[in-house]
Amino acid sequence: MSSDNLAHQNTANNVNNVLSTDTFSCVWCGLTVSAQAPDGSRRNHCPSCLHSKHVIDHVEGGPSECGSRMSPIAIAVLRTGDWMIVHRCVRCDELTSNPVSTDDNQLILMRMAVRPLAQPPFPLEAFGTL
């Protein structure tokens, strides 16, 4: 509870603390990861399996009572070209988006990005003539 929740909470005073040795263990794969991303910002998902934990309520703001696992479902692209991971809470279906960090698992990121193209709901041959 203690280190896990603290690691996910985006406290502004800890962002630039270089000497911070905070760690949290992933709720899905159990990997112990440092709470600090390579670019110095606070991490909110596991870099190995990209799963997160539902600790912030984005509808009403403030901490969430859910605390359940959030699985990555989609890649969103900002206008700047940066990628965001869209997480979905497996318990209450809440959606959040978080920026990717540089040491995130690239294989899972690419797999999520090309996932819609694997099973298109319409034939893609028609686009060849456009």
Partner: protein, 142 residues
């Protein structure tokens, strides 16, 4: 352009308006239709493949009217929601993730059978559009 003057037909000039049994207003035959906030298309609520249409089939723009439960109409935001990305359910069905431009809320909606396929494809290909991220990801993964 209607004719303002009707020469030679002066006696029928003040004919009372005919009674119309089709009501176009509230409760009429288009009571549930909506006009898209993005492209102003008049959209019928009858959609192939889904029972609840919640986004424009032409530009995929939606309106933030529901709170946590779909269909509850409890949100006070009423901002415009634009399609942010696509995700796939485990059964292979595409879902559009909408992003509220007013409050930043995200929501996932099923696609309908008459959604614009070109816009859907552009949305699906958007992560691969910018070559730098995608190619670096592929080079490190392989």
């Amino acid at each position: 352009m209607p004719r303002r003057t009707q020469p030679g037909n002066r006696k029928n000039r003040h004919r009372p308006q005919r009674y119309k049994d089709v009501l176009h207003g509230n409760g009429g035959h288009r009571a549930n239709d909506f006009r898209c906030v993005g492209c102003r298309l008049d959209v019928s609520l009858v959609a192939p493949g889904t029972a609840h249409r919640n986004h424009c089939p032409n530009c995929l723009v939606s309106l933030h009217v529901d709170d946590r439960v779909p269909g509850d109409r409890a949100s006070e935001c009423h901002g415009r929601m634009e399609a942010l990305s696509l995700t796939v359910r485990p059964d292979g069905e595409w879902m559009i993730i909408h992003h509220c431009l007013s409050c930043g809320e995200l929501s996932a909606n099923r696609i309908a059978g008459d959604d614009n396929a070109l816009v859907l494809m552009r949305l699906a290909l958007r992560p691969l559009q910018d070559g730098s991220v995608a190619s670096s990801a592929l080079l490190t993964a392989l």
